[in-house]
Symmetry: D2
Subunit: 144 residues, 4 copies
């Protein structure tokens, strides 16, 4: 049986503590909360790489997928990992993981599009692209 | 070129009005809000079919996919459509659409698992299954 | 014993339906949700009176008080009433009530300050002031 | 002019970091978020004092007041302070402060009522009462 390639490691992790209000009437962290944790990790990721524009995220979300692995519970210490897996011309793909007390609660992925102030797609800023590629060790991709 | 089959229509629609707070610092409805609109439509769907358990949803979310088509804006009249596309033994698949002022803002799908009080998967309740199948005009699927 | 003056009636009411996610792990509508319902009613109030600025609320919240009268429950039809009780030079006072199935769930009041784009207090816009006073039947107050 | 008594210090502080989604379309932390930060600090306060019941807060909110001092901004390190100021028979009064980068953003107070599983008021649990009084250095108040 052939060996599986090792999973791509996450190089970025952000503390994303839960709030009491995150737990819904089923007694578990509500599903929509995780999109906000991913978003928070995303913001901190681009802030860390100095890839924000005017202090905010210059991307909009085109697609998001989330797989719920285990119920999140109040009191868990939760961190969220983020990485850029692929850089395109005006879009990129990210992966996310929220981990509670050392176990994966939720996995996610997203396609993000770099937009101008009017939310129209435009090529990813060259400096942002270079910094992301260098941080992740992935190709810079097309920027023409 | 062969004709595409007609898309499966949604037989259920719920008014899911926006709130001022749903709009984030990018000036559009925040992505996580849509998961809450889908959830609200899901709750009303199962309530309509008398397929709740003790007044609440007996399903947990296993997977969710969302495609963001257009930015949602304050002042839009938003409705969310829901349907069950496939019934399995202990899980089912649903589709969602949130529509603002007549245009699709977001499409989504989800896999939901019927669980007991301790969140362990169990076969979908037979009555709920029968009602869902009848409402959607789909096979009841396996219930053994 | 002297008669109490009749309570000032609300002249504005907005449908503010609940969402499934509003119910927290105690099984009741979470307290913070009501501030968002008040905010929603406030937005619609100023929209109705054509007293928005560039499509948004030109006020910031200085103070908010909330009295929780009854637990809000999923399935209740909830409306929120709003009125301006007093117009000042750059601030005004509002009252709110969220009502579920005909019973008051929460009462609130707020002090709001009209601000410029940098969030600095400035006199309430004269047209907005006039419209509010006319709608509520209260004095226009000082505008110098 | 007589000296004012020194303000009562807070003996409890909890990190309550912001999320990107907390910032609303006015570019500041939305008012309702602070009620959730207070709630989170309250939960951690009672957890620290081992004064939860079955792992959750045994109090419901009867009243809340909030004064907004400065706009909260993304990137601020926010902590929330909590204290019990007065212990009554079945209710208590708390104060809160959310502080961002060392400056007070919001002050709040709340009246909380100890309730049974059906949300009916009952005397505060004797052990919880004793622990709170000891922690705050305040009278235990009436428990008959």
């Amino acid at each position: 049986m052939p060996d599986l390639p090792p999973p791509i490691p996450f190089r970025f992790e952000s503390a994303t503590p839960l709030r009491w209000v995150d737990v819904d009437s089923e007694g578990v962290v509500n599903n929509a909360v995780y999109l906000s944790l991913f978003e928070q990790a995303r913001y901190e990721y681009f802030a860390r790489l100095a890839a924000l524009r005017a202090g905010n995220i210059a991307f909009v979300l085109a697609e998001a997928k989330t797989t719920f692995c285990r119920p999140g519970r109040l009191g868990m210490a939760v961190v969220t990992r983020a990485r850029v897996r692929r850089l395109g011309r005006s879009s990129l793909e990210m992966d996310f993981e929220s981990v509670g007390d050392g176990e994966i609660l939720v996995r996610g992925s997203a396609i993000l599009v770099w937009v101008d102030q009017d939310l129209r797609p435009m090529p990813i800023d060259a400096t942002a692209r270079r910094r992301i590629a260098a941080f992740e060790g992935i190709p810079e991709g097309s920027s023409e």
